[in-house]
């Protein structure tokens, strides 16, 4: 009796392994003849053919997405995504949004989006796990502090060493604090930007670093954007599943948008009010 039960268990386990099918969702581009347009809407490599599935975070913050409603097309990232969709041949109804927490976007396995747009900076480490498009926004980091505190009058990085910093985990902002500012006290690391800003408001940290547009938007009552740091060449890219051929088509579209001034127009429309901030020198 016991032997039979054991054989049954082993048999089920082996059966399970044998029946596990390859669940990869990468489909080959369609088109029976080699001359079809590889970036035509019907031959694109999509998770849901006929629809462009775009990922972003929830909540998604202004000025990147207004009112946490990416489907509205309002907000720099929302607008860029719809512009790309339009140039690839998708109407507004053919764009679907999925909510992707930042940490989940680079997880192993197939993605449930075609690309993710979420202020993700391109770094060599990240490029080993996922594929990025070209830049859709060149970004500077900025420092927020409480009004009237000593740190608020800093004008150079060398004056920042003695303060307590904090930032969201996994961000290039946190990396900036650790690698460029190099404070004497280890920075506190929060799960979200909101937590870091609350800690700042409560006086638990003296300053936090965010990308400039988010910093300008998020500085609350009694807080001030002390300044923007000199650019390190950092830029945001759209995130794709590793080696997704769709990135080539999207890059073509982005190049066209850049050349035609479309990205600059959208910057003017959504980001203009947030960029006029003094520079904190690197010395």
């Amino acid at each position: 009796m016991r032997l039979r039960v054991l054989v049954a268990i082993v048999g089920v386990a082996l059966l399970g392994a044998a029946c596990a099918t390859d669940s990869s969702t990468v489909t080959l581009p369609g088109g029976s003849d080699g001359s079809s347009d590889v970036c035509g809407k019907d031959s694109l490599n999509l998770v849901d053919p006929g629809m462009l599935t775009v990922g972003t975070d929830n909540p998604a913050f202004p000025p990147w997405v207004l009112k946490n409603d990416p489907a509205s097309g309002e907000g720099y990232e929302s607008a860029v995504a719809y512009e790309i969709a339009d140039r690839l041949g998708f109407s507004k109804d053919e764009v679907a949004w999925v909510s992707v927490p930042f940490n989940k976007s680079y997880a192993p396995g197939p993605k449930d989006f075609d690309f993710d747009i979420n202020q993700i900076s391109v770094t060599p480490e990240r490029e080993q796990a996922v594929t990025f498009s070209g830049s859709y926004y060149d970004v500077s980091q900025a420092l927020i502090a409480n009004e009237g505190t000593p740190i608020a009058s800093a004008t150079s990085v060398s004056q920042l060493g003695d303060y307590q910093f904090g930032a969201q985990i996994g961000t290039t902002s946190l990396q900036f604090i650790t690698e460029v500012i190099q404070p004497a006290d280890q920075a506190q690391v929060f799960d979200t930007t909101s937590d870091a800003l609350t800690a700042l408001k409560n006086g638990q940290i003296d300053g936090t670093v965010l990308d400039l547009p988010t910093a300008s938007y998020s500085a609350g009552k009694g807080q001030v954007v002390v300044g923007q740091f000199e650019s390190t060449g950092e830029h945001f890219g759209l995130l794709f599943e590793q080696d997704n051929p769709l990135v080539t088509c999207v890059n073509q579209v982005l190049d066209d948008m850049r050349a035609g001034g479309v990205l600059q127009d959208l910057e003017q429309k959504y980001l203009k009010g947030y960029l006029d901030v003094p520079t904190i020198s690197s010395t």
């Binding site: 669940s23 990869s24 796990a129 937590d195 409560n202």
Partner: protein, 273 residues
Amino acid sequence: MFGGRRAVLISAASTVVFFLALGLALYLSPGWDAVREDFFDWHAMRESFLGTDISPSIWSAFLLNVKMFLIAEPLILLLALIIAIVRQIPGPVFFPFRLVAVVYTDFFRGVPLILVVILLGFGLPGLRMTGVSNFSPVVYGVAALVLSYSAYVAEVYRAGIESVHPSQVAAARSLGLTRLQALRHVVVPQAVRRVIPPLLNDFISLQKDTALVGLLGVIEALKAAQIYSVQVFDYSSLIVAALLFIVITIPLARFTDRLIARGQLRRGGTVAR
């Protein structure tokens, strides 16, 4: 040993076949290579354990977890004992105290620990009250653990106290002790000895819950593992943190089993195998 050599052979064979089948099922699954690379990468595990210039060492961060539960546990045992005893104090004049004890345990067992951590760690500093709002986040985290766990442990003590047979109290009173003296000298010592295994259980649980203090920005083991993981897009550091937690839990769990077995023997039963 029951069954003799045949039983040993069968159990050995059964174990080998079982784990072989399990291992085979894992190995043959299509995603295994990717998962192995992303969760069990030896280089990433070593790097994150020791620390790099982009992430703190999980080992030193883990020492902070150890410090936190070593500080929290005695405070919890003390506060919980006070609450449990207060709840038992007889006499109508002590009614408000008993009420506070009941409300305390209901409240802190009802509110999830994660919320208590957030409310204390972000709420109290926000009040900007002198003497209450200027502590480091570790202090608020430990305070949240103490307040929350004391409620559970107080109930464990209460179960112990109520499990002491009323004849003990009757005997004590017939010897001339007051109810309070009976509680102090006869009931509580017996009760505490009986509930040592569940107390150890809660201690083991506490060791893991110290990870929640990371929500307040503190760099403890899980947070350090997350920092590494999110920079290099690899989850092996989380496995390292998990292993560290398991390593301290296992000796305590086996010790608890031994105490339970000894307690059963002492009370005249046989030890279950």
